[in-house]
Symmetry: C2
Subunit: 637 residues, 2 copies
Amino acid sequence: MSDHREFRDLATPETLRETLADLDVDAGSETVGLDDARGRVLAERVDAGIDVPGFDRAAMDGYAVRAADTFGASETDPATLDVVGAVHAGERPAVSLESGDAVEISTGAVVPGTADAVVMVERTSETDGQVAVRTAVAPGEHVMAAGADIAAGQRALGPGTLLTPREVGLLSALGVADVPVRARPRVAVVSTGDELVPPGDDLDHGAGEIHDVNTHAIAAGVREAGGDPVVYEHVGDDRAAMTETIETAASECDIVLTSGSTSASAMDVVYRVVEDRGERLLHGVAVKPGKPTLVGTIDGTAYVGLPGYPVSALSIFRTFVAPRIREAAGRPPARTATVDARMATRERSEEGRLRLVPVGLVADGDGDLLAYPVDKGSGATTTLTAADGVVPVDPDTNYVDAGEAVTVSLFSANGRPPRVLVVGEDDPTLSRALDAVADPRYLASGSRAGRRSLRDDVADVAALAGPDADEALTGVRDADEALAGDSDAETDRERDVLAFWDRDWGLVVPAGNPVGVDGLAALVDDDVSFANRDAESGLRARLDAALDALAAERDVSRDDLVDAIRGYELETGGPESPARRVADGIVDVGLGSRGTADRLGLGFVPLGTDRVAVVAASDRAHKPGVADLERALDATD
Amino acid sequence: MSDHREFRDLATPETLRETLADLDVDAGSETVGLDDARGRVLAERVDAGIDVPGFDRAAMDGYAVRAADTFGASETDPATLDVVGAVHAGERPAVSLESGDAVEISTGAVVPGTADAVVMVERTSETDGQVAVRTAVAPGEHVMAAGADIAAGQRALGPGTLLTPREVGLLSALGVADVPVRARPRVAVVSTGDELVPPGDDLDHGAGEIHDVNTHAIAAGVREAGGDPVVYEHVGDDRAAMTETIETAASECDIVLTSGSTSASAMDVVYRVVEDRGERLLHGVAVKPGKPTLVGTIDGTAYVGLPGYPVSALSIFRTFVAPRIREAAGRPPARTATVDARMATRERSEEGRLRLVPVGLVADGDGDLLAYPVDKGSGATTTLTAADGVVPVDPDTNYVDAGEAVTVSLFSANGRPPRVLVVGEDDPTLSRALDAVADPRYLASGSRAGRRSLRDDVADVAALAGPDADEALTGVRDADEALAGDSDAETDRERDVLAFWDRDWGLVVPAGNPVGVDGLAALVDDDVSFANRDAESGLRARLDAALDALAAERDVSRDDLVDAIRGYELETGGPESPARRVADGIVDVGLGSRGTADRLGLGFVPLGTDRVAVVAASDRAHKPGVADLERALDATD
């Protein structure tokens, strides 16, 4: 720990950008076929090598004529010409015209050399080898002259042109089958860390293994920026292996990206490679997240060391590295879409560093955009998918206040807020219903979080459970009490309830209930280990209410009971987490629902009925996504 | 010709859209690896199968402790704990903590089961196996609990989610290596026509051959829309071959697109296949371009017959077919970018059909957008690349007036006007200079067109030659006259001249000048054939002026001379076109510049000096693209 590195002189974001701009990442050019040309960037000017069309071409079905023969012709006084032959598209004209002749011609066919105009078929009638032409045509009429589209020698497309289907069409017309394009920069992607396991392989949780997130996410980002990702097998913190991989990557690619190994000892390896074989240009940047970014060269190849946390790595990649790859690929800068929004809640910041706050977007009742911070920490990958963009908060700002106008830099130029934002209890019925709704977002952070979000005017819809659900349905937190009475407030509230249903809650035990757990008292009285839910969840509130009742029955305090439950403090994240700990043999009993127990093939000891209520904010009820959700919930039975 | 089909009952665009919507184009789903997942659409909901993280994870470098052991600790009164071991990321903790113990821990490592918090290293000092902790921590501090990112059983991503690098990251974290995605609809692409030759193969111009444009352009469009193009070799108008190809395509793909063969006889083949093996749903649509569109089914497979002209085919494809493919691929509708602009010139339309007018965009001096029609006819492929989008003009409108506000539907959501629009003489020096300018557009339609475009306030910059150039440089059309005098107007005008240069013009002859052409008179007096330039070009104006001088010398009219020149009327499109006809042995003499003759290895008989002047509109001189062009021209010497 003694050599733990501090970042005393952090580079500014501008310095990071300039340092990256100065790196040589150019990949040169290559030739691709027309089928692979879309999305590529032309490396050099393409001039027309041929006239297009290469001949005087009929623009209409009709008759090729000498224009002079039609002068004076009209509906009432047609010119009569001898039909001396026919020419179709793709045929060499077998006839030539004398004065007074006409040749039947198809659109796209060669106009015979001695003809100079085409009369459209609609203005003619043919009988017995002669055609009556009921209109006069000028020389050149309905003829596309050779080279009229584009002539040999003319500039067709300039260097740097992004090739869309339309440019592919023009290149086809010119006969350019081998297209000179900018090569995609080869970008080495190297994740480091002893704890990483490729997705698809099993994890040993107890040994601290996690899946390698950065390799595939950054490779996808490289591809999106127009680069060619070259993925190297992830390396542990072993010095020799890391050195070898980084040096190999530097010799094979135009730029090397590593992620992770920003810990003291591991970073030393990268340091040493960079300092032995190249140059360290920058280390540490005043951006949050992303401080421990390293930029340099290895054997002359550009090198960027990204932080290990996925949110940090992708944030630095997206903001600073991807634009450099785009530029090297010859692509125009990404049209970074920004939208104006109001901050939904106050967000504190830290002085001295540019902060990129991940935010989700939601349209309020008037269609105006609200931005709410989404941050489960840099270590959380769900932050990536729950956010629509970032709000840059500059180093001098301490906080952004609720209601303050902010500019959100969107992750995608096509980015738009979800059609419905649901916050609250995690429930499988609700999750299934959302499958039938286009573009929803569901933040399953618990019933209490849903209630808060509704109160803060953030969520369109809250999923409530436990006492929150009772209150939503009856206007008071104790359902029994409310159902006995009646009130106007109740009616008002029910208007926004989209749906509600009951679920059995209780204790999940191993199949066959080997320990013989028979009720809540067993948790307190028997020597069983327990896995709880977190305090945000409705089920947890049901458990605590049941403990209160048991405490009253025994005339003790709830704390007395809680102290006797081994694992009451073990709060787990998701609705299935306690049950999975039971299934994995880690604990004897878990809090959960009958549905979860059935799904995992476990035993279930019912303790009561929980009600889930899905409630829309009154001023959001008209949003199409809310209506879609209501329909989907109606259909879920 | 007797069976030439008329389209008497044209379907409305809405009917076309509905007919396509009713076709079954669904391709089902498939599984792809994470490396191929970007840009794909999730076919089903993905729930977390594991807790992420799978263990209580240290969020900081520091010491894992029991929080209770730190209560009351401060800078002045640290708690002293025994360091009983260390655990790094990816390691199984080998120690357990008793009260009073601490374990050195790295970010990402497993927090030992008997610890419940992490103290960050910055608030500690370690000496002799003991660590002084200078702060109190709460239970759970700097620990990311198992499942806190996402817990087993939670909804991770819904069906229909477009996978970006961020979703690829989340799927990685969950260990989902095989990703269930919507299959790309397989789209058969079949071009038809006897005249078509694949790009890359030589053309026989005399036999009316042209390159196949639609195959690659439509395949690229299919890919852009999220489909999987299956390209079949183009078929001629042979009935058996066409039938076989279409039936094979129908059996192998989810939708069959043909283009071309809308002529009477060829269309019969498609008709018969559709009517024998399926159903004809619609033929003929009230859209210009695109009238002869055909929709039906073949053996139950969706079928669309597109027009043969590339502009028509791609216009119908982009407007009607691509959205259907996107939908079948599960992609959200393309964000069709539109921009508001003013029409630069009056554009006439035709009643009764929705007209999609291709337009280019240019920013005027105030940065407002002007749209100018770009239409060299449906048969011209350059229309595709010279336009930025289309202005839909509805069937009831006769014309759009100059200055009228229009909404332009852009070809690309990232579409923006070129940074500089140059209209006028085709000149190789100017073309080379443009290679150094980012995102220019050069409409080389001749000096006269450049002068008109400047006058109409469309072009930023005009390339003038012949008398147009003299006038631009001196204020009068006769240079000799002007250079003798002096005027204020002259100074005013010169301010906007970006550059000018001279080029020798004259007669291009075969190498060695076998016919012994010695000057302009030879065209008139000798029996030689000639290829001219069109009346828009500056060189043609120089030729006509020289003919005027010769006529004056001989005391005859210019017409007398012109009548004696065999091929004076043979106007060709590009600056090299006459010379290429000389090179190909088609004519004896062509109008051209010394540069062209040298480039093609031909002989040259000089007739004079032509001046090319590149002139910016005064109110556009401040545009960055204009300044870039001026710099590039300065550097071209």
